[in-house]
């Protein structure tokens, strides 16, 4: 069951303000001058003070996964031989404005952190439980998007869906939690969100049957040996990359007190598979590309029944060497069709 409403931009701004008293609101935000190159902005997920901080015209460089899986998270503190579990600084619930691909992306994270091996990751869970999805309707693709091919362009997993128009906002509200608020703020309307149904970028996935083991060591991957510079941007910008490393640190003057944290890691980064004693798996960048590619469009599906990649295209947006993941998938499929 859902109800729909129309709010003027002003009414929406007021509602936003009202929501801010009870919730933290997060969404893509433009941070002036924080881009990689001087004089460029950075669009990333951040907490928003007002509705006009919501950046709707540019894809965010990083994904909303930071809200459930921050780049750096303290697991516990140690004081001598005692451990104290890290608590969250507050227990606010979070409303996050995000697009369907990212909702699907977080679904992939759920499978890793909440389901894999039957273990629930408590740090992920406590952040995940406080999220409320306000879905930004996405009817047109940004550059490099291929969500349709990845079947991640649609979702029904949201509490509120929003269409932002020139001077108004149309919303569909599902469930009871937010209905009254929106009903009071705006007037009844007929609105159901639409989903992008075609992207300029399409990928054709190789099927399991056409994937011979020989492709693992095929020369196909060699071009990435010299093209990839192992900067890890494809991993850090990806909504579904979930790998991490734990590190310990101790506080300046103390030999007894410190903490254990986990930080993002990525399969393209050096050191990801270094063993104590010096052995390294996947030394070549091409092997890393192969590892990532198969994980995103093959291994994950084998384990969880759905592809990991949601086609948000951020890896293509951010690669400084212009390596295109969607092109890689298509080249791989073409090669496999032609036979090795």
């Amino acid at each position: 069951m859902s109800e729909s409403f129309r709010l003027s931009a002003e009414q929406f701004a007021q509602l936003f303000e009202q929501l801010s008293t009870a919730y933290l609101l997060a969404g893509p935000k433009r941070i002036a001058g924080a881009g990689r190159f001087s004089g460029t902005d950075l669009v990333r997920y951040a907490f928003l003070k007002s509705a006009d901080e919501l950046e709707l015209h540019e894809k965010s460089w990083f994904s909303p996964k930071e809200l459930v899986f921050p780049p750096d998270e303290t697991l516990f503190y140690f004081n001598g031989q005692q451990f104290t579990e890290a608590t969250l600084p507050d227990d606010h619930e979070i409303i996050v404005f995000l697009r369907p691909c990212d909702i699907n992306g977080i679904d992939r994270l759920d499978r890793m952190f909440l389901e894999n091996a039957g273990v629930v990751d408590p740090y992920y869970k406590r952040r995940r439980e406080r999220l409320h999805y306000f879905m930004i309707e996405c009817r047109e693709s940004f550059e490099n998007c291929f969500c349709v091919s990845m079947q991640a362009n649609r979702t029904s997993d949201y509490e509120v869906a929003l269409r932002f128009e020139e001077n108004s906002v149309q919303v569909e509200v599902c469930g009871q939690k937010f209905v009254d608020l929106f009903a009071r703020a705006g007037e009844k309307a007929e609105f159901k969100p639409e989903f992008v149904s075609e992207n300029p970028v399409r990928v054709e996935l190789p099927t399991e049957e056409t994937m011979p083991p020989e492709i693992f060591n095929d020369k196909f991957w060699d071009e990435y040996d010299s093209r990839c510079i192992a900067c890890g941007r494809c991993n850090t910008s990806c909504v579904t990359c979930s790998c991490f490393t734990t590190t310990d640190l101790f506080y300046g003057d103390s030999r007894q007190c410190g903490e254990r944290r986990r930080v993002w890691d990525g399969c393209h980064l050096d050191g990801f598979c270094d063993m104590a004693g010096g052995h390294t798996f996947r030394k070549d960048k091409g092997e890393r590309m192969r590892f990532k590619t198969f994980h995103k469009i093959y291994d994950f599906r084998k384990r969880f029944g759905v592809d990991m990649c949601v086609g948000c295209g951020r890896c293509d947006d951010v690669c400084p060497e212009y390596i295109s993941f969607s092109n890689c998938i298509n080249k791989l499929s073409a090669k496999l069709k032609g036979g090795l």
């Binding site: 697991l75 451990f83 890793m112 894999n116 091996a117 060591n217 790998c243 490393t245 598979c273 104590a276």
Partner: protein, 265 residues
Amino acid sequence: MSDRNPYLPSPVKIIGLRQETDCEFTLTVAAERAITPGQFFQVSLPRIGEAPISVSNCGPDWIEFTIRAVGRLTNAVQGLRPGDNLFIRGPYGTGFPIDRFRQQRLVIVAGGSGVAPVRPLIDRVVRGELPVKSLDLIVGFKNRSSILFSDDLAAWKEKSRLVLTIDKPEEGWNGETGLVTEHIKKMQFTDFDDLQVVVVGPPVMMKFATAEFRLLKVPSERIWVSFERLMSCGLGKCGHCKIDYTYVCVDGPVLNYSHAAGLID
């Protein structure tokens, strides 16, 4: 969430320390855990870090870890003494399929520090807790000074056909020499019905040893290997040990070769 937080380690007291070789040592800690041979723990020291270490033996109220001092953590652990605390969580992973080994002809090939994870398995057989039809052991080390568990090896010899080999001849060494693969070659199998083969060691050794057994027509399903990978969680979360769709920390470290053979890092 405290009571169920799987990332929080528990302090355990070190009750024994034994130097095995120049760079390997065995720590015994007081802890009661139900462990299947082949499983591992995430062992840590606050401020230094955490690493997966396989159980090299265990009893009802003690666990042994045999550690090679090659990394930041393992070097720091080397400095510990009985009475100090070590921090552990586990046991993790899938160990050896003990029940499938019952009343079988068991062949175990282990190389170098790969002897550690199979030691509790061998011990169960030697102590009579795991009855088998026969036990063949091929244990290889690089050289004389890297031989681990000398006392155990003597005890194992009583209850098994043991081949102890070092890679190259050495002065004062009268025993077997050559890589384990050369000793596998000498084995003969006429049927495989009740045969189970375990191969554990460095990646290259496992690759060639399993290949030898395949040449001897041993079916893949009857060969078991144990993988060692970098891990940050032991819980199937951190992603470091993933190969293909397999997570070594939960699906392994002990894997049937029919599965393991297809895994390419």
